[in-house]
Structure formats: C-alpha cells, structure tokens
Amino acid sequence: MSFLEINRLHKRYGAVEVLKDINISLEEGGFLVLVGPSGCGKSTLLSTIAGLETITEGEIRIAGRRVNELHPSKRDIAMVFQSYALYPTMTVAQNIAFGMESRGVPKPEREEAVARVSEMLQINHLLGRKPSQLSGGQRQRVAMGRALVRDPQVFLFDEPLSNLDAKLRVDMRTEIKRLHQRVGTTIVYVTHDQIEAMTLATRIAVLRDGVLQQVGTPAEIYNDPVNVFVADFMGSPAMNLVPARINGGADMPMITLGRDAEDALSLPASGCEWLKAHDGREVLFGIRPEALTDAEGADRTADHVVEGECTVDVVEPAGSDTFVVTRLGGREVIARMRSDAVVSVGQRMPFAFNMDKAVFFDPQSEQRLS
C-alpha cells in the first residue's frame, strides 16, 4: 500500500472547479513534485494535503490513515511556505521551537531538538537573530529547520526556492535533495520550474487547469509524455513539435515534414513501424533537441538514427553545446549539436534524428499516438 494516497479528489469554490478528479499515490520516502504553470491548482492541491483547504470530494490518506477531517496540526505534516512564513517577532530559535511550544513539549526537550536541527542545517550561529536580520538563504534554512524539527511523516514544500536568486536556488536545490537522501522522509513539493521537478523528484505529477495530466518518474515524464502539454512543458529548450504527414510506403512508413522554400523532408520512420496504421494522417512529430544532432554527435547506443539534410537558419553557441535552429513544418526546430561541430548559417547539412526518442501526437486531441 502506498504511503500518501489521493483518491478522486475534487475541489470546488462555488461553481468553479479548481481540482478535477486527482488520483496520485506515493511510496514511503518518495519525493513527489507537483508541477504546472501558474494557476493550474498545484498549490491548492498541496494546501488540501496540508489541511489548510478542505476538499469537496474524494479522500486523502497518509500512512493508511484518512486525514480529510483532521486539523493541519494533527496530520503529522510540516510545511515550508513560499514566503517562508517565519514569525517576525520571534528569534530563529523561537521560530523553530514554536510548534513544540504549542504542543506543550517541555523546555529542555525543545532546546535539545532546536540544537540538533540547527546543527544539521548549520544555523547554530543564527539562533538568537530575528528573521529580518537574515539573508534569503538563511531564512530558507530556518524555514526548513522549523519543518524538520517536527520529524513529520510528510514534508510539504510550496515553491520554496522561488524567492532566491539563481545561484542560491541551485545550491538550495542540491541541499534539499541531500536532506531528502539523509532523512528519507516523504516529500511533496510544488514548483513551476520543470528543472527543479526533474532534478528533485522520484515522481512527478504534471497539472494543467486542475486536471492531472500525467504522473510518473522523471524519465517517464520526460521520455514518454502522454500529450503535447506535458511534452512541451518539460525540458529546456522545449521539445520540437513539428506538423508532419505519415506515408505508408511498402514496409517502412515515411514521415514527411513540409518546408517553406525547399522540397519536403522525408524521413524513414525506422523503429516506428506501428505508424503504418496512421497512413496518410497528419501528426505532430516530437523530438527533443538532444535527439536531433549533427551526424557525428548522434547517440551511438541508439538503435534507430536517420539522417536528413536541413538548412541551418541560426547558430547559437552555448559553450557546452551549440544550438542550431532550422525550419521544418513551418516551425523553428532546435538541434543540440556538439560545441565543436562546424556549422555555418545558410549551410545545408545532414541532421541526425534519433528515432528511439521520437514521439507522435494527434494534432487534434493532442494525445500521444502509439
């Protein structure tokens, strides 16, 4: 049985349904990231798990126990807020100890717990300060300390890194991951940053307009998106999605990609013979930039790599890689080439398509074809 279960959850504000039939389960010690654009309901979902928002229908279970009716303090959870929500008039030590104080834990025990947690987060020297005297990263640590000291069954993080500058964000991300590895507590984490989602999660849940799009491991979400939204949302630069036509041919179906000025590009759908069933149909051909390379940079372990001649439109050297833009199917397509690939604008050169990684969507329903 899974540790955190969300079954058929609905949340309505009057007539507006903000969460529609959410089903998620998470194993003990897992790291679930709720990700989606702003307004998709991910923070509301987290609030319902915390008990700060009631749910209209469905059930939430933590460690097998139904918590729908339980007060937030009785659910054995701890939460880190986006604004950290440190109590401004209390010192760091008082902030961390406030929960224990509320539950009537005796003072020596409180002090011991504060010492233990502050040691772990290296904030011992800050214990006497007020939140206003701390930097962003320090506040973040204190907020985590306040959650850690409870030793809860589930940690809830609500966009905890979005108030930090770029460098600190990466550092704190690593720190949260390390913390998770060390204490092994189950975590539910909300973010709109898909890189945070990929790097931290053991499971990702993608939400859009209150509807759960897909739940899976980061690899599943990244490599096997169920629809165009998930494919487009995860990954940076985003997946190339090109309108294409399938032509059955004799035994190998061909993918035809229209081009503005030149004749259409035809690629054999090697490894995707099932596409024959969609003979003559329009599809969306999805390929990630790293699966579209120069011929020498193609993945040698891939089973099906096909090459096609494309015209280089823009070259963007990024140091570690060179991003090359070409136009296919009326859209810009980004290829990720080796940094020392010799590419010049206007040149016609072979692009290697790793068909193992290619995905196809129905252009109308935007659902995955398989």
Partner: protein, 293 residues
C-alpha cells in the same frame, strides 16, 4: 541660459521656503495661543486677570488656582475640587479603552484571518457605528442602562464607550491585519497553535503601531466625551469634562477665572501627555494602516 534658469530656480526656492516657514510659524502661534493664554492666566492672581490683559505674563506667580481647582473648588454641592472627577474619568477611560481595543483587535483578527461567509457584510455594519451621531442613541442607551441596572454608574459609562468605540477599533485592526501575511497564520496552524495562541503570539507582537493608534484615538475620544457623561452619569460617577463644566458655569460667588483656566488645563492634561508620549507612533501607525486595506 541654463545657468540663469538654475539661478532663478534657487532664488524662487528660497523665497518659497521663507514663505512656507512664515506661514507655518504663523499657524503654530495661532494654535498655541489659547494654550498660552490658559497657562499664563492659571498662574495669576484673580486681580491681575481683572486688569484685562489676558496676554500679559504674570507679575506675581502663584499656583494657588491649581490647588483650588484640584482639591477645593465648588464643583457640585460640596467643595471637593476636580480631583474625584479626575479619578472618575481615569476609572472610566482605562477600562473602556482597554476593552474596546482588545475587542477591536479580536474582531480585526477574525474578520481577516478567519473569514466566514458574510464577514464583509458584518464589517460594513460595524463600520456604520462610526457614522451614527451620538444624540440618536441617547434614549435607547438610557433604556438599556436602566434595564441592566447600571444607569448612573461608571460601569454604565464604560459600556457605552466600549460599544461606541468598537466600530473604530475594529476598522483600525481589520485594515492593519488585512496586510498581515496569512501564510504566517497557516504556518502557526500547522505548528498546532490554536485561535488565541496565534493571536497572542503571532499577531499581537506585530501590532504595536496600530495598538498605539487605537489607544490614542479611544483615549482622546472617551476622555473628551461630554454628552454621554452628562447624560448617563450621576454625581458620584461624573467624569472630568462634566465636572469642569459645572465648575465653570456655577453661578454663585465670584467667577474665579484663574481657577477655571487651571481646571481646563487639568482636564486637557492626560490627552496632551498621551499625544506627546506616543504622537510619532500615531502618525507611523496611521501610515502603516493606510498602505493597504
């Protein structure tokens, strides 16, 4: 060309500044003059006042009028001075201010952080209390005080002032707490703190400026109230303002202007002290409340 423009700009600036200062000094003097007259004449013997020059400094300095006003002037039937009524006022003002401030803070807390259906409607209705003229409630209030059996007592006056102050104190605290981050309340809820603990430990410690504003506002209003005092108090519970009126308008004997002046200053003193001590918090608090809400 550019230089000359700058030059004129500076010169007009100086002229403007002189004008502004002149105006400010004029108004400062204008507003301070009555206080000056009161203070100067309260330390003169009566003969000197009779000479007719109210603005002159005392030739002969005496604190006798102050002592008389405080302890031996004829206020009612007995020559008790203003002292017992001063005490009365304190005994009315302190509880009335305390209770209305605490209730206002609780109202503001509930109206912003424990929102319920119709909260805004209730707030709107409470706000109406700020606009109801005192005179309208006199008769119903007298009825209620009579029914409760506290007519003519200090408790009756405390109740009246608490009820009347609630609209304002609620308004102040609601607007202040509307800007207070709700995430803090949620965090405290998860930490297991209940309704009152959150109020006492999280909100109240951050409420300094608005508490000062409310206390000053309520203190001034309740202390300076005359209408409720004259309507609902009897001789034993009469507040300072009513006593002062009785002192000044008594028609027997010689009119002791110097004693009247001293009594008036005594009556104004507590509010003056409150403003001087906490005036800058008042302004700061008003601004804090004004930013959002």
């Amino acid at each position: 060309m550019a230089v000359s423009t700058v030059d004129t700009a500076v010169r007009t600036g100086r002229l403007m500044r002189a004008l502004i200062y002149a105006l400010l000094i004029f108004f400062a003097v204008y507003y301070l003059l009555p206080l000056f007259v009161m203070l100067v004449n309260s330390v003169k013997p009566l003969d000197e006042i009779r000479e007719g020059n109210m603005l002159a400094l005392p030739r002969e300095f005496t604190i006798q009028p102050w002592l008389t006003a405080w302890s031996s002037a004829q206020v009612g039937v007995q020559a008790t001075g203003l002292a017992p009524y001063f005490i009365n006022s304190i005994l009315i003002v302190v509880p009335a201010v305390f209770i209305s401030t605490v209730l206002g803070a609780l109202n503001g807390y509930v109206l912003t952080k424990w929102q319920f259906r119709g909260a805004n409607l209730i707030f709107g209705l409470m706000l109406m209390a700020c606009f109801i003229p005192f005179q309208i409630v006199l008769i119903p209030m007298a009825q209620i005080l009579g029914d409760l059996g506290i007519a003519g007592t200090r408790y009756g006056l405390i109740l009246v002032h608490v009820v009347y102050g609630l609209g304002f104190t609620t308004l102040f605290f609601r607007n202040y707490y509307a800007a207070f981050p709700t995430e803090l309340v949620k965090a405290a809820q998860i930490d297991g703190a209940g309704f009152f603990r959150i109020f006492r430990r999280i909100l109240l410690p951050s409420s300094g400026p608005i508490v000062v504003v409310t206390v000053i506002w309520q203190f001034t209003n309740v202390w300076n109230d005359f209408l409720f005092g004259v309507s609902f108090a009897d001789f034993s519970s009469m507040p300072m303002t009513v006593a002062l009126n009785n002192l000044v308008s008594s028609s027997t004997g010689v009119r002791e202007y110097n004693v009247h002046f001293a009594g008036a200053v005594l009556a104004a003193l507590p509010t003056l002290v409150v403003y001087i001590v906490s005036g800058r918090y008042f302004v700061r608090g008003l601004m804090a409340g004004a930013v959002k809400g």
